[in-house]
């Protein structure tokens, strides 16, 4: 089965761009079926062209009837990545979020979550930086340690900024 991958725009920053890309790819017969490029992109498999719209919802502990409610409303689950769930439906289906409240709740929850993660990774990074200043190590080891502790900061602070911006935009527009 032939696969194609595309870079993502970052669900935390501009989910609408990725969702539009999924629809565009589906029209070309390329169907979303996973992540690619070390989690920075999307993988598509070849199939029949399909006219579909995509949407996403966040739920950390979906109950057994979560997906059943979506299916019954016309939204078929495509993939789930942790607490992020991507669905597709026929054009014209009632949107996943019919008001701003549930979207706001999701973004607020994600912002709080990544605020906690960011605080932990930043504190760990600062402690390592402080430790490296106090104790002299081999330069190579120091560099590896700095990179190792910097990466989690990037991968927690970046989504935090994204969710924060989305939430501010939503609050300004409602």
């Amino acid at each position: 089965m032939s696969t194609t991958s595309r870079m993502g725009n970052g669900l935390a920053f501009s989910p609408e761009k990725d969702l539009a890309m999924f629809a565009d790819m589906a029209r070309q017969g390329k169907h979303l079926n996973g992540v690619a490029k070390l989690g920075h992109g999307w993988r598509f498999t070849d199939g029949d062209p399909e006219d579909a719209v995509f949407d996403l919802a966040y739920e950390s502990h979906p109950s057994a009837d979560y997906f059943e409610i979506f299916r019954a409303a016309g939204w078929a689950p495509v993939i789930s990545l942790g607490d992020t769930h991507i669905f597709k439906a026929a054009p014209g289906t009632t949107p996943v979020h019919s008001g701003v409240e549930s979207r706001r709740d999701e973004l607020t929850r994600n912002r709080s979550l990544y605020l906690r993660y960011s605080a932990i990774t930043l504190i760990a990074f600062l402690l390592v930086t402080l430790g490296l200043r106090l104790v002299s190590w081999n330069e190579g080891v120091e560099l590896v340690l700095l990179v190792l502790f910097m990466l989690p900061v990037v991968y927690t602070v970046t989504p935090l900024v994204g969710y924060w911006r989305q939430l501010n935009t939503l609050n300004r527009s409602s």
Partner: protein, 107 residues
């Protein structure tokens, strides 16, 4: 928390009031959507994420409860407190509408 505190204070947003109305009789999630759409002639349409979030909040506030049954097709029903909150919210909206009528008649 101000935006979602209505579930605790009992001053419900419209979507929650609609779901409570649908749950005057026991219904599962999707039946709530169908019922509201039919009863409102299509003017009240709830998306699945909005419905699920509202059900969770109402259950968390003790205004609805799950009845025993199929886990993949959970059936919900108003609690006694939920019914009291529903009646209070309908009355509050009735007062607002009466006020609106009065103001519009005078205008």
């Amino acid at each position: 928390m101000g935006r979602s505190s209505g579930f605790q204070s009992g001053d419900l947003p419209d979507a929650a009031l609609h779901v409570l109305l649908a749950l005057v009789r026991p219904r599962h999630g999707y039946a709530v959507m169908q019922f509201l759409e039919q009863e409102s002639a299509g003017t009240i349409v709830l998306g699945p994420a909005s419905l699920y979030t509202t059900l969770k909040k109402l259950a968390g506030a003790g205004l609805i409860e799950e009845l025993d049954g199929d886990d993949a097709r959970r059936v919900y029903h108003l609690t006694t407190e939920g019914r009291e909150v529903l009646v209070r919210n309908i009355e509050r909206r009735r007062q607002v509408l009466a006020m609106a009528d009065h103001i519009m008649e005078d205008a």
